[in-house]
Symmetry: C2
Subunit: 147 residues, 2 copies
C-alpha cells in the first residue's frame, strides 16, 4: 500500500538554515524541535514547530496549540531552574528568519541586557563549550520519546 501525506506533516519540515547555523540541537518534542541559541550571555532556547509553512504565531493550527503551550512551559521551567532566572521572556518575532520559531530566554536582573529585551544588547557571545548546558537541558526535558 502506497501512502501519501496530503497535508502538512513533520516529514515536510526542514529547519531554516540560519537557525541551524546559529543554534545547537537539543532534541525533538512531539511538536517542536528544541534548539539552544549560541549566545552564552543568556540561557536561551528556541522552539521550532516541525510543521511546514508556519510563519506567524497564530498560524499554529488549533489542533497543535495545546501541545505548543505545553512545550513552551517545559522549556521555560527547565531554563528557569537551570538559569536561576528572575523572569522568563517568550517571543515569536521572525523579522529575520521567516520560519516560525519561539524564543524562550532566562533573564536575570544582573544580565547583560536587563531590563531591556536581549535584542537591545548587541551581538551575541558564542559559547566556549555549550556541552554542559546542553547536557543539563537534555536531563531536564523529556525529549525524543518517539524516536
Amino acid at each position: 500500500l502506497y501512502f501519501r501525506f496530503e497535508d502538512d506533516h513533520p516529514m515536510d519540515f526542514t529547519l531554516h538554515s540560519r537557525l541551524a547555523a546559529d543554534c545547537f540541537l537539543i532534541g525533538d518534542f512531539a511538536l517542536c524541535r528544541v534548539l539552544l541559541n549560541n549566545d552564552a550571555r543568556f540561557p536561551w532556547c528556541i522552539l521550532v514547530p516541525r510543521l511546514a509553512h508556519l510563519r506567524d504565531f497564530h498560524d499554529v493550527p488549533a489542533a497543535n496549540r495545546a501541545t505548543l503551550f505545553d512545550e513552551i512551559e517545559w522549556v521555560s521551567v527547565a531554563l528557569q531552574r537551570i538559569g536561576r532566572a528572575d523572569k522568563m521572556n517568550v517571543a515569536a518575532l521572525g523579522n529575520m528568519v521567516p520560519q516560525l520559531h519561539i524564543h524562550i530566554i532566562a533573564r536575570r536582573t544582573n544580565d547583560a541586557a536587563w531590563p531591556a529585551p536581549v535584542w537591545s544588547a548587541g551581538a551575541g557571545t558564542p559559547y566556549d563549550d555549550p556541552q554542559p548546558l546542553i547536557a543539563q537541558l537534555k536531563a531536564h526535558l523529556d525529549l525524543d520519546r518517539s524516536s
Copy 2:
C-alpha cells in the same frame, strides 16, 4: 445566599498602573483586556489576561490556554489587516511590568525599527489622536459580549 470566590477570578484582576498609564482601553474579551499601546510608530496591542497572579507566559492555567491563543489570533489578524503588516510580532517579556501581558505588534518592512524588534528603536511617539485606530480595532474585534 452569600457567595465567595476562593480561587483566582476576573474579579480579583486589577490592571497594572503602568499599563493603564501607557495604553488606551479597547475592551475585554472573555479572558483578556485589550489595550492599544500609545506609540504611533507601530500598530501595537497588548493583551492582559484578567486573572490575578500571572507573571510568566507559562503561568496561564491549562484551562485558559486555548482561549488565550484564540484571542492572540483575533488581535493579530485584526492588526495585520488594519496595519497592512508584513509580519506580526508576539511577545511576553515583562521585565518592567510584572503583570503578564502579551505584546502583539504589526510590523512593516519600512517601519521605524525593521528588522530589529520594536524595543530597539528608542522611545515611543504618542498618538496625536488614537480614536480612528481605536474605532477600527473595535470594529474588527468581537469585544465585551458578556458586559
